[in-house]
Symmetry: C2
Subunit: 436 residues, 2 copies
């Protein structure tokens, strides 16, 4: 993509309305634009990141045996009356009346709707277990939407619902999802700590929040130092070993009764990006979701649900990975792998070298963002750092005379001057290592 | 995907509520389920087709130089007050009031929202032209939703909006989109006839509806027989030659003044799946979308808009491609390329041959739907025909003794008995021919 034609409206100044760094950087990097309180449009570069995050979530759900479907954003009120939540949910639920005065709502979550689909279409224990998930926009009418996409009103969420003939099977899928979530976040370059929602309490082992560690996190997490050994940045941690470790959010942590000795207890700020629950029969009983058992008996199914905040993750990744100059995208979610910067647009040799590299990179399957705009080098450097592509490939007249290009790693800041061929190989091989 | 675990709730009986064949077949094939009038959930196999259609639309938009973004489903009423459409739009617009009594709406279309983004973020003629598109769910509160996804209330649409410094440039992009639409529909195996919205009238050449020909179409189309020569099924027609030909919908066709001689005039039923418009300055004037020109003067931009009904296309494809036994998917949009049918589950040789083929097809990049359920052959044949995968690969004990499999083409009905190796090669090479 050529920057001269790309719709990338970056801002030089910090927008005053943004209180946290991810919101500020997403606005400055031209990723999003607010259209109403807590409601955003995703501009082209923002959408690319959102889709990359979504795709990683999808691949890991599929790998775990879940099947994707898509429920509508609007739901009939009747279903929520059956579960008793239509009146109970409160003002966060956006209630809507259509032209025929039928009561509807914009789904804030989908337990009722998926249970309705299940009870109508699945009739036998032989069809169990089932895991059905969607990645769909939802709406929660937050009283004070803030922090950009981190606490928006219209947000993209992956929600998976599982159905089982018995508790043992529900627990097995819960364990699989626990491991799947660790893989999912690790693939995005994040460290996520699973925090038992009610550590120590009975059943507390079947509800976990996944907290991404970031200095700017919304809550304080206390955890066993062994987490640091078992889940270094971007590595796939061992779910079985992790599951045994203590971790608790501020409001649940009880220093006096903590099972971890003080010298092994660490604390950090966390952002909740996922939540897994064992639901039991809460919804299946209310909505009468039953299947026929082996002897024809009626079995009310067991359920679980598993959410990931997909649009929120884009903000969380930035909170966890940025510096004073801007975003530092982990390679698997980066909107472009490399920024190709022409430092002297109009210079015949620079233009030709850049055009050649642009074409060759595309042929190699690496779509670069090619800064072909006639601007001073300083502005180009600042913008590339701001938007945070993993690699920068800088072509200027002085280096070019010697056949050299400069390759900069955004994360480490390391710059090397190497031959154009070596630079090309370096970019392509780092891309292939990430994307097979 | 193994059918024994796949969530594919097919129906044997015709659902009584469905009046048209695509609605009937989508319900019977377990593709969708209605959750409220005109509102559907897309079950796994339906979603696969929807995503395939969406991806073809996306690739052709990208190829034409449009850039994808994503606007929220909910919009603030103020923007529509600026254009005057909030009061004018009528009851098809779903109006919503949030917890703070702010007036909002579920976007039925996005001219106002995209013009707002443009006017705030694009300032110079140098940034023109711009084509910005999204593929997003929209809502129109139809008084009588019917025909399944063909006339639903919540529907998926691709909407592209273009911005230009002058009319000549707007016209150029219009012409590109005209050609792009022909390519898009041809890639889905459809014949689409572009019908000038007002043939003969001045400016009528800058608004076209694209009508897919299907016996069950909603309106009668009259067109020059040369269309049939220039756009055979699934071929890429020449847009320049097509553009000159006469085509008109029933209500616009005037037999007395038709420029095509009677012996060259044909008629057929059509389903509207796309519409392209030159908008001029209608929205840019109302919302004050201006850029600075070369001499600093203010230029009110020219606009165009280009829609494709993505969810409607799934229904339209079925209307255009089915028989008495079920759906006949064109290969590029098929949910699976091949159905692998084990005709004697439990027979060790059949199970082994099928398991081997299943693994080998997956390794070759062809995800088959593997019917591994213990059912009688007749039910398996009927279901495979119903769901309409392009190829069926049938493995039974008698053929297997001789090392043979049967390969059936769903469209032609042709069945050949060939060696298992030859059957595998046939399926893989037909897949590769379609998917590069």
């Amino acid at each position: 993509m050529r920057l001269s034609t790309y719709f990338l409206p970056t801002l030089k100044e910090n927008p005053t309305e943004a209180q946290i760094v991810s919101h500020r950087l997403m606005l400055r990097a031209g990723m999003i634009r607010q259209s109403a309180a807590g409601i955003y449009s995703w501009l082209p570069m923002g959408l690319k990141v959102l889709r990359n995050v979504e795709q990683i979530v999808r691949e890991e759900q599929d790998r775990a045996g879940a099947q994707e479907l898509l429920m509508a954003t609007l739901q009939p009120a009747e279903l929520w009356r059956e579960s008793g939540r239509f009146d109970a949910y409160g003002k966060e639920m956006l209630r809507i009346t259509d032209r025929h005065d039928r009561e509807m709502l914009y789904g804030p979550t989908n337990e009722e709707m998926i249970t309705d689909i299940f009870r109508n279409l699945v009739k036998s224990y032989k069809d169990l277990p089932k895991q059905l998930y969607q990645i769909q926009w939802k709406f929660r009418d937050e009283v004070r939407p803030r922090f950009g996409v981190m606490r928006g009103r219209e947000f993209l969420m992956k929600d998976n619902y599982s159905f089982h003939a018995d508790f043992e099977d529900a627990k097995k899928v819960y364990d699989t999802m626990y491991a799947t979530y660790l893989r999912t976040f690790a693939r995005m370059g994040l460290r996520a700590i699973p925090v038992a929602a009610d550590p120590g309490a009975i059943g507390g082992n079947l509800s976990h929040e996944f907290q991404v560690l970031a200095e700017t996190g919304e809550s304080e997490i206390y955890y066993d130092a062994k987490f640091d050994e078992l889940s270094a940045n971007g590595q796939q941690p061992d779910p079985v070993a992790l599951r045994e470790l203590y971790a608790a959010a501020d409001e649940k942590h009880d220093a006096a009764n903590c099972p971890v000795p003080a010298d092994r207890l660490k604390s950090a700020r966390g952002i909740e990006v996922g939540h897994i629950f064992y639901l039991g029969k809460k919804y299946s009983e209310a909505l009468n979701a039953v299947v026929a058992g082996p002897n024809g008996e009626q079995i009310t199914v067991e359920m679980g649900c598993y959410g990931i905040g997909v649009s929120r993750l884009v903000g969380a990744i930035i909170e966890a990975s940025h510096d004073d100059n801007g975003i530092i995208w982990p390679e698997p979610v980066a909107p472009f792998h490399v920024g190709l910067v022409n430092l002297r647009v109009g210079d015949a040799a620079c233009d030709k070298a850049c055009d050649d590299l642009y074409a060759k990179l595309q042929t190699a399957g690496v779509e670069p963002l090619y800064d072909d705009r006639d601007e001073r080098a300083g502005a180009k450097f600042a913008r590339m750092d701001l938007i945070g592509l993993p690699w920068q490939l800088l072509i200027g007249p002085r280096g070019l005379e010697k056949g050299l290009a400069e390759v900069k790693n955004r994360k480490t800041g390391e710059r090397v001057e190497i031959s154009i061929e070596a630079a090309f190989d370096k970019i392509v091989s780092s891309y292939q290592a990430r994307h097979r």
